[in-house]
């Protein structure tokens, strides 16, 4: 499915990627901001392209790579442990007042 305005394919220039990845990550929808119940951030690819003097293809490519590049394998492993811990805390916290089918004592 072609994305409107994007026809180019290929590999992004590494120097352009290094120069722009942090700016694009910080201002893209990787950060979703609500203010007074209204969505106010971030910028879409077209807006980022206009601000940075890049093409739409360059912005999309940098954004897609930067989001993947931002997380290390160590981050993924750490996530497994912390997620399990928080889940256990949730299950234990809910246990005493949880209603269980066929077990009214847990009501």
């Amino acid at each position: 499915m072609p994305v409107p305005g994007i026809t180019k394919t290929g590999v992004i220039d590494v120097e352009t990627y290094q120069r722009c990845k942090n700016i694009i990550l910080a201002n893209s929808t990787a950060l979703q901001v609500l203010e007074d119940d209204q969505l106010v951030g971030g910028l879409n690819d077209e807006q980022l392209a206009a601000q940075l003097g890049l093409t739409l293809w360059e912005v999309r490519e940098i954004r897609a790579i930067a989001k993947r590049d931002a997380v290390s394998l160590a981050d993924w492993r750490k996530a497994d442990e912390r997620m399990q811990l928080n889940h256990e805390l949730f299950v234990m916290g809910r246990g005493s007042r949880r209603r269980s089918p066929g077990n009214s004592e847990n009501s």
Binding site: L34, V71, L73, A79, F90
Partner: protein
């Protein structure tokens, strides 16, 4: 073509079909309402020429038992099974719209289709436009009845169905959260997020500010996903020693990624559900579902 007296009747029949298949929520958005909320490259018209309406419905994915399982990953397996229902109903309804009613229809892809990290259509934007919820402090769509535990599916159609209005009142924050904010300066979702991916503040009954950091959330929400496989493959490609490369390839880290892909099929498999599990909105309606 199926003769219909009115679009309102057609809408009622579609809603009955969706509910008969177990969907908990149903709404219709006009394409204009979705377009207002989305950049040009993510609009329903890119997927269906002449689209007039977006039909949105939703299920809970996991069983209540899986939510309470000792292992966090159990919920993701249950959710994976739940996704099958969503995809099946999307296909049934799309074909019904064409064969029975004579309008073009296509399921909208809520996952990336272009190699981008982001989905091709924002199902959150579709759900909001269809009046099914509002973005809450956690950045999830909070449905008044079921909170953030609803997973949405959307279909674009050329049928000009009567649309729902977006919700005026945000179900977030819940009174319990307002009380906790007053007392402790936090809420259940803010306190429980293991990634510290959400931050924000309440002001009275309003979400004064909320920031969702997708990059921090990624290794939690997508820990059994293509993104982790890509990262693991990178370590294999970087390893010059043939024996060490074999250890990585045959080891549990890499094999886990492969099995996760096998398990999840095309849908991917989310893993962290904690911000959904702890939200008090709609908790009473979800206990034994």
């Amino acid at each position: 073509m199926y003769a219909m007296n009115s679009m309102a009747e057609m809408r009622e029949e579609i809603q009955s079909l969706v509910q008969d298949h177990g969907a908990l929520v149903f709404g219709v958005a006009s394409v204009e309402e979705v377009d207002k909320r989305t950049p040009v490259e993510h609009r329903p018209g890119n997927f269906l020429q002449g689209a007039k309406s977006v039909i949105v419905f939703g299920f809970t994915l996991s069983t209540a038992g899986a939510i309470r399982a000792p292992e966090a990953t159990t919920q993701s397996i249950s959710a994976h099974h739940g996704m099958k229902r969503i995809f099946a109903l999307n296909a049934v309804l799309s074909h019904t719209l064409e064969k029975k009613y004579g309008y073009f229809a296509t399921g909208l892809p809520g996952l990336p289709t272009t190699g981008d990290f982001d989905p091709s259509i924002s199902l959150k934007a579709c759900a909001e436009a269809a009046g099914l919820g509002r973005r809450g402090l956690s950045s999830l769509i909070i449905n008044p009845q079921f909170g953030p535990r609803v997973f949405y599916s959307a279909i674009a159609t050329t049928a000009p169905l009567p649309p729902d209005e977006p919700l005026e009142k945000n179900p977030c924050p819940h009174p319990e959260c307002m009380a906790q904010w007053e007392k402790e300066g936090t809420t259940p979702c803010l306190a429980a997020c293991p990634a510290e991916a959400i931050s924000g503040e309440l002001r009275g009954r309003t979400v004064a500010r909320a920031v969702y950091n997708q990059t921090r959330c990624q290794p939690y929400a997508l820990s059994s996903h293509i993104e982790r496989f890509t990262k693991s493959l990178e370590t294999v490609l970087d390893e010059k020693d043939a024996m060490k490369r074999k250890m990585i390839l045959y080891g549990t880290e890499f094999q886990r990624c492969l099995y996760d892909l096998y398990w999840s099929g095309i849908e991917g498999r989310g893993t962290c559900w904690i911000c959904m599990n702890v939200c008090p909105v709609g908790r009473e309606n979800i206990q034994l579902l």
